[in-house]
């Protein structure tokens, strides 16, 4: 079981999928000779050549549009946003063209749109965003946001093999900080299945991506205080794994949702509504949430730290919730 960072795991998934299937091609800005802004595609051009690893102009709409067009011929393109913030430039192409294609006229779009997301690296307001909820609100897309190297590789492979457009968020804070043993050889992680990262009896913390790690850190602290928290890593935001959330709630009767996305319209609101509809009788307290502020991501380290959730903020909210 070789050790790999999340970035290496993603690179392995790209390599192996391109090796396995000649219909897999990749395109984006600076992904070929340069190997991508974070080197996620390093070495792909050398091996697979310029027909399959396409350096594009700075044209997000053209990248997504062309990937969609290629997929209509039975190819499985993987398009890269240099930073996921730039997906705003091709919002129309993603939400109106790609997402509606199968529903409206039965044309599947088996493409992956992947890119580095998230804050904590002082990237400033245009290189740190978590725009996942725009797309969770778009029927026809799938939205994946892993927190471990193992999941990143397995989920990216599933995304490539999926017949639907999959948005694959890669938290750049985790790219080189997460390192773990991953299995050798081909494996996939199913899209739409959450993972219980830590079992507990007293309350449930639901999170994903970098905040899954903050939640686990908080749970370890809470353990020393006698609070036994269960931590769920969603891994996929659309479709949401409702059953894993509800099963856990039925056991712990308390729910805290943690996300790095801004507060209003974040997935915490959706999950709160879900448990109210499906398991209201099981709630012993209000559904709590720890999120980023409702502001753009600020640049200066003290501002960004204040903006972002962290283990202390999660633990504090959990202590309050545990009192019910």
């Amino acid at each position: 079981m070789p050790e790999a960072t999340m970035l290496e795991a993603i690179r392995q998934a790209l390599f192996e999928e391109m090796q396995r299937d000649a219909t897999v091609v990749t395109l984006g800005e600076d992904i070929g000779v340069y190997g991508g802004a974070f080197k996620a595609t390093e070495g792909l051009l050398e091996k697979f050549g310029p027909e399959r690893v396409i350096d594009t102009p700075i044209s997000e709409t053209a990248i997504v549009g062309a990937a969609c067009g290629m997929s209509y011929l039975g190819l499985r393109p993987i398009a890269e946003m240099q930073f996921i913030d730039f997906i705003a430039c091709c919002f129309n192409q993603v939400t109106n063209f790609v997402a509606k294609s199968h529903y409206l006229w039965g044309a599947p779009v088996p493409m992956v749109l992947r890119g580095p997301s998230g804050g904590g690296v002082h990237g400033g307001p245009f290189h740190s965003a978590n725009p996942e909820m725009y797309f969770v609100h778009t029927p026809g897309l799938k939205v994946v946001y892993p927190s471990t190297a193992h999941d990143a590789k397995g989920l990216l492979k599933s995304a490539v093999r999926d017949n639907n457009p999959v948005l694959f968020f890669e938290h750049k804070f985790l790219y080189r900080r997460v390192k773990e043993d991953i299995p050798e050889g081909d494996y996939t992680v199913p899209i739409g299945k959450a993972a219980v990262r830590r079992e507990g009896r007293d309350l449930t913390i639901v999170s994903y991506a970098a905040m899954a790690h903050a939640s686990l850190e908080a749970a370890a602290q809470l353990q020393t205080e006698g609070i036994d928290a269960e931590v769920i890593d969603l891994r996929t935001l659309l479709p949401l794994d409702r059953e894993t959330i509800l099963d856990s709630l039925r056991k712990t009767n308390k729910l805290l949702v943690v996300h790095e996305d801004t507060r209003t319209g974040g997935i915490a609101g959706e999950i709160a509504a879900l448990v109210c509809e499906a398991a209201f009788d099981h709630l012993d307290g209000p559904v709590a949430r720890v999120t980023a502020l409702d502001t753009p991501v600020p640049y200066a380290p003290p501002l960004e730290e204040y903006f972002l959730p962290n283990a202390e903020k999660v633990a504090a909210a959990a202590r309050e919730l545990a009192k019910y």
């Binding site: 090796q19 000649a22 219909t23 091609v25 070929g32 000779v33 190997g35 051009l45 050398e46 091996k47 697979f48 050549g49 310029p50 027909e51 399959r52 396409i54 350096d55 594009t56 102009p57 044209s59 997000e60 709409t61 053209a62 990248i63 997504v64 549009g65 062309a66 990937a67 969609c68 067009g69 290629m70 997929s71 209509y72 011929l73 039975g74 190819l75 499985r76 393109p77 129309n92 192409q93 109106n96 063209f97 509606k100 294609s101 199968h102 529903y103 409206l104 006229w105 039965g106 044309a107 599947p108 088996p110 029927p139 026809g140 799938k142 017949n163 639907n164």
Partner: protein, 456 residues
């Protein structure tokens, strides 16, 4: 008579244009009877554009229509019943009532991509279709349409530029119908010939009379052949006129009456009928035979559409995702071994041949010479070892190659800075006003010079 078309093909063009027009006239009646669910957009006066361009494609080629390209859908093989049922939101329509108008397609058989209402987005998508087809070795050409209005979008630019950078086999028909909803073209774009924009992309620009179906066909055929030879995308502007409002609700009172009259005298069907008569391509009997056929087909298909049911309500929540209902398959027309290692492997470095400085030019321009070498094809990579040669593209016939600007297949169709957009002789020649004015100005200058000389 066009040299390249048979008599049957000439009559085919008439059939499709007339079918397009009659179909739309019936839909106007259905709209007034409240049988059309949503909006109805007319292509009256623009039939020659849709039919002439799509007729230049082979069955293997791909197209993506815009709202006024019903004629192109008919040429590609969709039936009037598809158009009727789409507009009437019937369960039997290509989208089963999930969308209306010309928003439908067929990936597997007809190779038609559905448009969306946001303009310009089809161009990057069709650039991708063209690139994908080339990757699979299929030798297809992709064609799509955009209006004068839609050409102002960012998606138009991004798609054109990507297609050009990739030398993708894409024909973009810029259907200049003079009006973007209620705004005249001169208020949208400070350029008279939108084909001039081709130069900015380093690609071939062409202009054709959009009301002359044979001119449209000939230009489109040439554009398609260019793409087929690997010379990169073509921007083909066709000049025509939208003879109705933006849609049925719009009486188009903002259009000057004289403008309608000017273009009415250039009605593409009337012009073509005259042409067929003048060239002895049909007689009264043949004409009524075609018209009877159209009547018969439209009667049957309209009846089918009117009798079709609306979709069951619960269909609304079906089909958001492909849950294995489709099989994703690529049709390879080249050995896959070419695109997997070791054959696909390269040394990942750029070969930069142009360092980008301002070219120093002598004060007096030298006599015309071929375009200087510019930055090469999109990607230069050193091959570590010999790559199997790609099958060579067939040579163009001599007559056509004379018309094309001089260029190496390996070089982009870029023009030297300062040289005009290469043109086809549609409305551009000694009879063209701009050309004439230029000549007259030069003559005047010469005379003025002589006079001054005499006085001294």
């Amino acid at each position: 008579m066009s040299d390249t078309l048979t008599r049957e093909q000439h009559l085919d063009l008439y059939y499709y244009m007339q079918l397009n027009r009659q179909l739309e006239e019936r839909m106007v009646r259905l709209f007034r009877q409240n049988k059309i669910v949503g909006g109805l957009y007319s292509s009256l006066g623009q039939e020659a554009v849709s039919v002439g361009t799509a007729y230049a494609l082979d069955p293997r080629d791909w197209l993506a229509p815009m709202i006024r390209n019903i004629g192109a859908l008919l040429v590609k093989g969709f039936k009037p019943r598809d158009i009727f049922t789409q507009h009437m939101a019937k369960f039997t329509s290509p989208t089963q009532g999930k969308d209306g108008t010309s928003h439908f397609g067929d990936l597997k058989k007809l190779h038609v991509v559905s448009p969306i209402s946001m303009l310009g987005d089809l161009i990057p998508v069709m650039a991708g279709v063209a690139m994908g087809g080339r990757y699979l070795g299929q030798k297809i050409v992709a064609m799509t349409w955009i209006g004068d209005g839609g050409s102002s979008t960012g998606a138009f630019h991004e798609g054109m530029n990507l297609a050009a950078a990739q030398k993708a086999p894409l024909v973009v028909v810029l259907e200049n119908n003079q009006w973007a909803y209620s705004t005249p073209v001169a208020r949208q774009v400070p350029v008279r010939d939108l084909a001039d924009r081709a130069r900015a992309y380093g690609i071939r620009g062409m202009i054709a009379d959009g009301n002359d179906v044979l001119a449209v066909y000939t230009a489109a055929k040439e554009a398609v052949e260019q793409c087929r030879l690997g010379r990169g995308p073509v921007l083909l502007e066709v000049k025509t006129m939208r003879m109705k409002g933006h849609a049925q609700h719009d009486p188009a009172e903002y259009v000057p009456k004289e403008m309608f009259e000017y273009w009415k005298a250039r009605d593409p069907l009337a012009l073509y009928e005259k042409y067929l008569v003048a060239n002895n391509l049909w007689d009264a009997a043949k004409k009524s035979e075609i018209e009877a056929r159209i009547e018969r087909e439209l009667d049957a298909d309209q009846k089918f559409a009117e009798e079709s049911p609306l979709p069951p309500p619960e269909l609304a929540e079906q089909g958001v995702y492909c849950d294995g209902c489709h099989t994703i398959e690529a049709e390879w027309a080249r050995p896959q071994t070419e695109v997997v290692p070791p054959a696909s492997s390269v040394t990942p470095v750029w070969k930069v041949t142009d360092f980008g400085a301002v070219s120093l030019r002598p004060a007096t321009p030298p006599p015309p010479r071929p375009a200087p070498p510019r930055q090469g094809p999109p990607v230069h990579h050193h091959k570590p070892h010999q790559q199997p040669a790609r099958p060579a593209a067939s040579k163009p016939p001599a007559r056509q190659s004379e018309k094309l600007p001089e260029q190496d297949d390996a070089e982009p169709a870029a023009e030297a800075p300062g040289s005009p957009v290469p043109r086809v002789p549609f409305g551009r020649g000694p009879k063209d006003r701009a050309f004439r004015e230029e000549q007259q100005a030069a003559q005047k200058a010469r005379e003025h010079h002589h006079k001054r000389g005499r006085r001294r």
